[in-house]
Amino acid sequence: MEHLEVIFFWSAFLLYGGAFVLFFYHLLAKRASLNRLAVVAVVVAWLAQGVSLVLRGIDAGHVPVVGAYESLSLAAWFIVLVYIALELRTRVRAVGLYVMPIVWVFLGVAWMHYHAPGRLLPVLKSDLVAVHVVVIFTALAAFVLAAGAAALYVVEEWQLKRRGFDAVLGRLPSLDTLDKLTYHAILFGLPFLSMGIVAGVIRAEKWAVQDWYFDPLVILAVVAWFIYAAFLWGRVVAGWRGRRSAYVALLGLVCLLFIRFVGVPFLSTFHKYGS
């Protein structure tokens, strides 16, 4: 079973990589068929990764959210899920250019932390923990996509300002589309982040975790929450548009990645994910 799970994991990993190459090639030299193929590859990879996660869950006997390997893989799976939903609705394929590398990094780091499926620590045996993690990952996926659109926005805006308009740029979505995409993704993600934080707090209170509010991770999560809240406030009230809001969305992602790759392994006292 573990063997099978790893095979599926790796197929997904390679297919995501292939999809990225196809997206990139399409951008450089228009090949519509390759672009479609890329989307198909993403969907197949996503299904394979889903199978891998399910096998892992069955094997371990719990929702696969424990440890870096499981949690990162699940996070990547959520990111791709949101991307596929977005792709089906808006056909902004260019975002795949950005999402695929992120997914790759997530899966790559996940693999470095691979360990055999194990039993849950008693402290994590709780529906609330599962809700906490799933909800936060949904928010993370939305924020990753928002930042992806924002990154494309910054590059495209810069090109348009310096009049470097060419075929490659012409294949990207319009600035307006990217701007709205960023906004909508954050609008979607923030409630989930709020729910995730609340669920975590309830959990900590219930188990009387000591000084949970001093945990660097909790503080960083609140900072991230404020960044995204500021984004929405600026957008709706102060009329932030375009580049400025794109920078805020990117800042938010930097904060989230810092939490995940610095905060969790090195700073946090109790977000050890079972290790």
């Binding site: 090949r31 068929s33 348009l160 300002k161 012409g170 990207l172 319009s174 548009r241």
Partner: protein
């Protein structure tokens, strides 16, 4: 097919048994285009849809011509024919064109081109891919070909080959557009401006455009924007009346020059082409406007020389400014890009020509007969083996007899169609029968690969087709039946019942006319 690709020996085929195939039929293209003829001559020969169909049916009346289609656009007039005796047809068609043009045939002779076989097919595909257009990569030609084909079908001028050929041409055009970037980037100043506006603002329908100065260039750009769905247009001009005139033409409204600031806050696209010697729009003005418009993006197209908009505007967040030189640079770059893509499109065309030619080759009689016999023989052999296994305990001699029975049966059944096919092989309409036969027996052809247009029911065959088939069988068939002698279309010659039968079989799915045809035959009998 003999002589494909060159102006082959037109006399071959009809009277030579060894070179029967489809009677030496070839796809022929006779035409003039912007590359060869002056606009004056093209004007004289420009046909509207109705005239084009009338000319095509006239051409079809020619005994060497089986199918005809006239493609007439502002850049080209081309006659596509599926015909035998290319040289003879050509001189007559050119003479016909010359009489329409009113110019001497000699004049037309020097500017018209004639292509036959694969080069004619290739030419049509290149035209459809817009590789032969004045502006390479323009999209209109595809719609024009589609219309021409639809009209020709309705006018009864096309049949098996052209229905296939033109559908295929449309496929090629579409394929080139989706698989290459040939039509992707704009190659005129005004369309480049529109493209940029769209890159910034997305869909343009809900946006507002402000035109400064009522010059020709602003009008041209505005036309493009309106074509993209822009509905709200303001025109501001120093002389109010000129502005009003332009505004009326686009269903917009004229605004006073001194209310420029407040309209900068309303507009999303500003096109400026005034004759002012100084900047008309300054950075401070735009900064103020941006405050009012909550920093929604604002796109400036400055096509005036000297420039109207302060270049500093480009440094404001969410404001984008392109002047005439910027746009020209984009256009030049795009033109280069298109040429690169054209090479890829040529490769697609070559590939598709090959596919079509393979299909066309399948319409030849002799290979079809061979294939039919081979396939039926294969069925016979399989069935015989099966039954022989099942009757395992039969002795050798009886088995031989069973085998002889099966062979005899197949030969008897195939004898008649084989003889008939050979009889009509020399005829210009033979390919219609071949196609029907291939379809009825499900004979594969290599040309009908995945990329090719799907086989369509013969329904597309126009009503006129049957009349032609009748004439065809009327002149050549020698089965000596007078069954249909009363049929006016048989014009008194020996009418072969079988020939008629075949024609009806081909026409059966056509509907009304086919039914009428058999009805009439019934009456005559």
């Amino acid at each position: 097919m003999a002589g494909r690709g060159v102006l082959g020996d037109g006399s071959a085929g009809a009277d030579q048994w060894d070179d029967v195939d489809s009677g030496g039929m070839q796809v022929v293209c006779i035409g003039i285009s912007h590359k060869t003829a002056s606009v004056e001559l093209r004007e004289c020969l420009a046909f509207d849809n109705e005239q084009a169909v009338r000319l095509a049916s006239d051409l079809r009346a020619h005994p060497d011509v089986a199918e005809a289609l006239v493609l007439s656009t502002c850049n080209r007039v081309e006659l596509y024919l599926y015909a035998a005796n290319v040289e003879r047809v050509r001189s007559q068609v050119v003479a016909r064109l010359a009489s329409i043009a009113g110019a001497g045939a000699g004049e037309l002779e020097t500017v018209s081109y004639v292509l036959a076989g694969a080069s004619a097919v290739g030419h049509l595909f290149r035209v459809a891919a817009s590789l032969d257009s004045l502006i390479v990569g323009e999209a209109q030609i595809l719609a024009q070909i589609k219309t021409a084909h639809t009209q020709a079908v309705e006018g009864g001028c096309t049949s098996v080959v052209f229905n296939r050929l033109f559908r295929h041409a449309l496929e090629v055009g579409k394929r080139v557009r989706t698989e290459t970037a040939i039509g992707e980037r704009p190659v005129s100043i005004s369309s480049a401006a529109v493209e940029l506006a769209r890159q910034v603002l997305g869909k343009l329908e809900k946006h507002t455009v402000l035109i400064l100065g009522a010059g020709e260039m602003s009008e041209l750009t505005a036309t493009h924007l309106v074509a993209q769905g822009i509905k709200k247009i303001f025109v501001s001009n120093r002389t109010f009346s000129a502005g009003q005139e332009l505004a009326e033409r686009f269903g917009g409204s004229a605004v006073n020059w001194d209310r420029l600031d407040e309209h900068l806050a309303l507009a999303d696209i500003v096109i400026s082409s005034t004759a002012a010697p100084h900047y008309v729009v300054t950075r401070a003005q735009v900064e103020r406007a941006m405050q009012v418009r909550k920093r929604r993006p604002l796109f400036f197209i400055d096509i005036a020389v000297p420039r109207d908009c302060d270049p500093e505007i480009n440094h404001i967040d969410n404001a984008f400014l392109y002047d005439i030189d910027d746009l020209q640079a984009i256009v030049d770059r795009n033109k280069g890009e298109r040429e690169k893509e054209a090479a890829r499109a040529e490769a697609i065309v070559a590939e598709e020509v090959e596919v079509f030619e393979k299909w066309l080759a399948g319409l030849e009689v002799v290979p079809t007969i061979h294939q039919l016999r081979a396939e039926v023989e294969a069925i016979r052999a399989t069935e015989f083996d099966r039954i022989a296994r099942r009757l395992g305990d039969l002795d050798e001699a009886t088995l031989e007899k069973v085998k002889a029975l099966s062979v005899g049966l197949v030969n008897k059944i195939l004898h008649e169609p084989t003889v008939r096919l050979k009889e009509i092989a020399a005829h210009e309409d033979a390919y219609v029968y071949v196609e029907a036969l291939r379809r009825l027996f499900g004979l594969r052809d290599e040309g009908r690969g995945d990329g090719a247009a799907p086989a369509e029911p013969l329904a597309a065959t126009a009503p006129g087709e049957i009349a032609r088939n009748d004439e065809a069988s009327g002149s050549d068939e020698a089965s000596g039946s007078d069954e249909a002698a009363g049929n006016d279309e048989a014009s008194g010659s020996d009418e072969a019942a079988e020939g008629e039968e075949d024609a009806s079989a081909v026409a059966a799915p056509i509907g009304a006319h086919g039914a009428r045809q058999s009805q009439r035959r019934g009456d005559a009998a």
